[in-house]
Symmetry: C2
């Protein structure tokens, strides 16, 4: 079973540690703040209070034997750096660091981090993508040029069969699934009506509230009718 | 053209404002800290220093005329709340608030926010998904039961044509794209080798380093060979 150490129980570290534990990963959660350690100890395999810049303390908890070490010590950059260097010395196979800025991220990479996460910047870009394309419920980049998008079915597709629209030939995009909202439960208050997801067949007919999930090159996706 | 106000130029707000402006949205960026306003003014249509809890100041900048207002004032919860209430009073059609915790998020929703973002928690869960499924480069839930996953091509598929593997018939999953790494540039140091993405054709043959991007019901995806 995979063993992952999460060092630094800020909001990122705590959410990560809990979700990992729920997915069946063996988690050791570390922070120098006893209160945070107490908060999480029922959710993970092991929660320990220690100063992560102390090599002996890390060894005493077998940090040299984990598969992945996530270092999410936020504001204390020096502690974050020192801990990363120690994890590298202890030959942890994969080290992930949470960085405050692009410059911090660059430094973590130079001292050997395998992956750097910048939650705020990544969220800012993610929300920007959603807002810049309001008819697209979501845009997930698969690479620099390809994305997965969710598009409310444009009027010009309503009532047409998928075969007749010819998305692959005409638009060079791949229709991956159709999300069709079901009747709302009584109160109409719930923010997300239940939807039925299906893998599209050629004879399926597109209905007005369908959401089409499509994959293709960004340039091709931009050609789709918006309305 | 859509007009979006971003109030609070922390890391989330700045990344959001810049990416929106790059996508052709008209952005007004607001902060009470002049230095941050100066930092972003070349990247957006309008950058203004003001206290967002001041109703007159907001009106003077036509915040009542924007399509979306994003309130990303972080640590000052009271200011964040007051600004949200003001935006609601000014009848801004869509209000997005950045929250520090689930409890803060709940409060924003109760006072009328249309969407609440928690970057650190969302990033924690996202990284947890990646780490919990190491053979899957990424798992993106499309609904409670359907996901998009990236799977390193299992050995049993190497050298076989897509048609012969019969993913749709045999596994009920839809192969959406294939990512094929290209030769690495000289130093081998770059963390993500260039990949060529292609929409699969029936006669394409799967190669050992291919990454298959698949969509299907979670139960079907779990049936795929892992190795
Ligand atoms: N030397 C250290 N050893 C162990 N834990 C540490 C050390 N220094 C700081 N920490 C812990 O790191 C945690 C995260 O730090 P902090 O809250 O500054 O980060 P943050 O980036 O604001 O977090 P987030 O944004 O994820 O909420 C804190 O709980 C803190 O106690
Ligand atoms: N009343 C106010 N009017 C306008 N701006 C404000 C007000 N109060 C705070 N701000 C601004 O909000 C910005 C973001 O706040 P802060 O840096 O505390 O958030 P944060 O959540 O830590 O940001 P991030 O995590 O996105 O970096 C700051 O630049 C601050 O100047």
């Amino acid at each position: 079973m995979r063993k992952i150490a999460v060092i630094g129980l800020g909001r990122f570290g705590i959410a990560l540690a809990r979700r990992l534990a729920q997915s069946g990963v063996q988690v050791i959660a570390i922070d120098r703040n006893q209160q945070l350690v107490n908060e999480i100890k029922d959710d993970v395999d092991l929660a320990v209070q220690l100063d992560a810049t102390d090599r002996q303390a890390l060894l005493s908890q077998d940090i040299d034997k984990v598969d992945v070490c996530v270092i999410s010590i936020g504001e204390n950059f020096e502690a974050s750096l020192l801990t990363t260097v120690l994890a590298k010395q202890l030959k942890v196979p994969r080290i992930i660091c949470r960085a405050q800025t692009a410059l911090h991220a660059e430094i973590f990479q130079q001292i050997g981090a395998d992956q750097v996460v910048q939650p705020e910047q990544e969220a800012g870009r993610h929300v920007a993508r959603q807002l810049a394309n309001p008819q697209l419920a979501d845009v997930i980049p698969l690479s620099d040029d390809f994305s997965l998008v969710e598009l409310k079915a444009p009027k010009v597709f309503h009532g047409k069969s998928i075969k007749s629209i010819g998305l692959r030939a005409g638009y060079q995009v791949n229709l991956v699934v159709i999300k069709r909202p079901q009747a709302l439960a009584g109160d109409g208050e719930s923010s997300t009506p239940p939807t039925r997801i299906s893998v599209p067949r050629p004879d399926d007919v597109i209905q007005p509230d369908d959401v089409l999930v499509l994959v293709g090159a960004n340039a091709s996706l931009a050609e789709l009718p918006k309305e």
